[in-house]
Subunit: 330 residues, 2 copies
């Protein structure tokens, strides 16, 4: 594609992820020629700034994609199911942040650092993985390549920003009641632990099933044992993940630290005796995946602990989508 | 002992756990004859009510234990190391909530439902386990008896009340700055994930080491593989724990539900498709251990997921201590 003249559309431009996509495109000097901000009729007329210029949100319609090269979707599954194929037919590369296409075997599911090379000659709908999956796989891919993953056990600590602006609003509303005041709420998020929606008879939440399926698809390891528990918390800035992994080959904390050294997409902060370790708050606005609490897990053969944090709205959504788009620029 | 005439002392009576001990003694109609509230000199003169009568906090001194039958300590490790042996020498049964004596092989470490019978004829210092350990073991003991524990992997979601009143005060202070306002704080707890103090070269926090050692001691399984990651969160009401366990014998969610049924110390809430599961907020002020998200973990032979919640100040501290005292009354 012509680097200087890409026509970009953002579908869901007024949402938390859509707005962050705009920020990230600007920060990374993405070669945006034309920019279209699309959303539902109720958002038409909302303004947004990009590179010093003002843009008006337009209504998403079937004919919105005529001259668009790359469409970044983040408007939920229903919108993606309807409009992504329309955009694809119009000739767009679609990078979709919803869960609509992630498990479709004909659609690539991409974390650029992990499997970006698989879409070299692809054109069509590309799925952006779940936020929790992305940050975990940035950490696990080099480990898999070096030591061979045998089993992954993960418990997540997920930011309320994963529920979008309405999640943040609910938390703020409940916080006004103070500690002890939230008892009247049904399933409050303030000061509490919640789970994501569960509709699976075996008891797994949708988020947990996504992490299992998407991890296997992206790593191309359809039988990898991945045990997942996802918890939503009154935290912001990023998601945290507590992992216990088991590998084929012997693994040590020191070997993993060396594996991650010199990368700018993975930052190891692991000096806990001096209170230095990744926290979700410190991830806010950052793109790297932060790793710490790397410990030998001697309860398993070749076992290791990892604590992984990243900004779920950026690397977990907007930044990863823009990085996928960049694969078509370079 | 004479049921109607027990002389009880609470050491650390003005702290969060000490005050809750008083509440629990009253709620459970513990046969308190005389009551002594002890604390450091700075707290002398503070008043507290017990069964409609007002008590004045007295200064903790070496001669404080002369006529005391049972002394409940919750004033930190340093105070316990100094005064628990003095109380023991004066003839007291000491139930100590600090970590001072927990790993001492000569001192019993007791969760009444789990190993209460081991102190039938004991008199002296008894250690009250770590809050996170207590709730986990209430759940794991029946499972171990029925299926044989082979490996425990746990990631905790711990209430800031575990840091006492000063932890709660820090959270409240930071919350006033709102989401995004805590960046100026060094390691804020509001909206964030933190770890407990770490002084172990292998990278384990003190809380993690406690859970490992105490679990093995209480279950009398010195070699049980216990993999622990402890996380402190801006939550209140209780601690949550995400477990993946492996057992010797085949285990199923249904068998575990049956195992727990009919107990009033373990409440199963596990109807996630109707959004019914344990949360830390709902544990506040409750004594049972709540269990949910019971799922088959097919990433291991005989694997099972558990989510365990309990009020860390009550069952995790004050209630467990009073229940230990009750072993000497019945």
């Amino acid at each position: 594609m012509n680097k200087m003249n890409l026509s970009i559309a953002i579908v869901g431009a007024t949402g938390l992820v859509g707005r962050t996509m705009l920020t990230v495109l600007e920060e990374r000097n993405f070669p945006v020629g034309r920019l279209k901000l699309l959303a539902s009729a109720t958002s038409v007329g909302i303004k947004a700034e990009f590179c010093g210029k003002e843009y008006m949100v337009e209504e998403l319609r079937e004919d919105s994609f005529a001259d668009v090269d790359i469409a970044l979707f983040s408007a939920g599954k229903t919108v993606s199911l309807k409009y992504a194929p329309i955009a694809e037919k119009a000739g767009c590369i679609v990078i979709d942040n919803s869960s609509a296409w992630r498990t479709d075997p004909t659609k690539p599911l991409i974390v650029p650092e992990v499997n970006g090379e698989t879409i070299k000659d692809y054109k069509g709908i590309i799925a952006n993985p779940n936020c929790s999956t992305i940050q975990m796989l940035v950490a696990l891919k080099p480990i898999h390549d070096a030591f061979g993953l045998k089993r992954v056990i993960v418990s997540t600590y997920q930011s309320i920003t994963g529920a979008g602006q309405k999640g943040i609003d609910k938390l703020n509303r409940e916080l006004e009641q103070g500690i002890g005041g939230v008892a009247a709420e049904e399933l409050p998020i303030a000061f509490n632990t919640l789970f994501h929606d569960i509709s699976d008879p075996a008891g797994f939440s949708e988020e947990e099933i996504k992490m299992q399926n998407e991890t296997r698809k992206i790593l191309n390891l359809p039988n990898l044992p991945v045990a997942v528990t996802c918890v939503r918390l009154p935290i912001v800035g990023g998601h945290g993940e507590s992992l216990n992994i088991e590998t084929e080959k012997p693994i040590t904390p020191q070997a993993v630290r060396e594996l991650f050294s010199g990368r700018d997409d993975i930052i190891v902060i692991d000096d806990p005796m001096n209170q230095k370790y990744p926290t979700v708050a410190a991830c806010a606005g950052q793109d790297p995946v932060y790793i710490g609490r790397i410990r030998q897990d001697d309860t398993a053969e070749n076992g290791l602990y990892l604590w992984i944090c990243a900004d779920n709205v950026r690397k977990g959504a907007a930044t990863n989508a823009v990085q996928i788009a960049e694969l078509f620029v370079d």
